[in-house]
Amino acid sequence: MTSLPSSSAAPAVAKLTAAAAADPAAEAEADAYERTHVHGVYQAIASHFSATRHKPWPGVASFLQAQHPASIGLDVGCGNGKYLGVSPSVFMLGSDRSSALVALARSRTAHPDEPATPQGAIKTRGEAATTGAAAPATATPTADTNANAPAQGGRSSTSDVLVADGLSLPFRNEGVDFAICVAVIHHLSTRARRQDAIRQLLRCVKTREAASGHVLVYVWALEQGNSRRGWEEGGEQDLLVPWVLKSQTRTPKTKAPRGPKTSKDTPSGGEPPSPTASADAAGAGGVGQPDPVFKRFYHLYRQGELEEDRDNWWVVAANDAPISRREK
């Protein structure tokens, strides 16, 4: 549910950036800020968040499926592990800052037959993937991801997960063939930290083999002309974006009538049927306590910014941000 307005995080970011410039030790302040506005939120909303995150984005899935068979990859910020089983021919090491999400990812990869039943397909908009040898232009739908997942009964033979901070990754230098980092780096509050996160990814991948060394980074884009949130060029980039934690004990309220003609027939499936639905969910609607609202920090990347932040050769599929489609 996404129609609550975002609020500005610009003053906070300005303060953190200035503090870090004056004293490198002030890094701890940015860390604390993210603990409140990112990590703490994900810990709190993990299971609700996970329940809304089943379908891999096609651009990421095709990148994974294009990797050399039996290569080893990282998924930094793996969340509930939805990308870990996309390509059963590669071995994936997933890490996330949230132990709650990692625990979900572990149980998910251990039991790949558990349901993944999002409504409708998640579509990406404005695909800007430039992935060199990888990622064919035609994104492959991955509705059958779970069918591909290995390991009946036992744990997945093709992934493992651990808890780690993206700025202090425990992976050895140049150990793996590729890395993905999807919808993660925009949660870091200063530019120096976002650049450092990208450096960390690059440090972990091999550089020698031509067929490997690819890093795929996805971030939310500022320029989203048709976003309900009204994000567009020239707008503010540092924001607090609300997440309404829907009560797990109630059936989700939507304005749409239940019946044969609900979301299945609409092109955007998982999207809430109308903006007013989430205002309703935010507490006006009757039963029990209002649903709590968590504010997550986002830095929306303007066009070209991600390329400025990169080092030299890595691969980016940037600025793809179907926010209104993904958020539910």
């Binding site: 860390d31 080893i72 090491l93 033979s157 808890v163 992976f171």
Partner: protein, 127 residues
């Protein structure tokens, strides 16, 4: 956490990255479990060149497994159904560290493993 994974992990502390002592991490008070994992000889064969074999030997020795050969087996030795493949499969894919600690040989920091999940978040003085 699989022993395969341990072969790709070093200390999370930045200043340790340049030290050879930070890899591999050393299991301590490790409680192991063996999962039933479908064998995947192709994956195993392809992963072999990506392993740090000497680190794997260290890990196996520290956990009390029989000594591994000094050099990694050649592709010819990895015949499907053969003992070498089976042994490596069990060691890398099926053996899990479910509880215990992973210790950095450089800074001495101990990372906890609980319920099969290693936690590499650092206390603020080490970040």
């Amino acid at each position: 956490m699989k022993l395969l994974t341990l072969n790709f992990l070093s200390c999370a502390v930045k200043t340790c990255k340049t030290s050879p002592l930070s890899f591999p991490l050393h299991p301590k008070d490790a409680e192991l479990a063996k999962d039933d994992v479908e064998p995947n000889p192709d994956l195993l064969t392809n992963i072999l060149p990506r392993l740090d074999w000497s680190a794997l030997r260290t890990t196996a020795a520290e956990l009390g497994f029989p000594d591994l050969p000094e050099t990694a087996p050649s592709p010819e030795e990895l015949v499907e159904g053969g003992k070498t493949v089976q042994d490596l499969h069990e060691l890398l894919m099926e053996t899990q560290i479910v509880e215990g600690k992973l210790v950095c040989g450089c800074c001495g920091h101990e990372y906890a493993v609980r319920e099969g999940i290693a936690n590499f978040l650092l206390p603020s003085h080490l970040v």
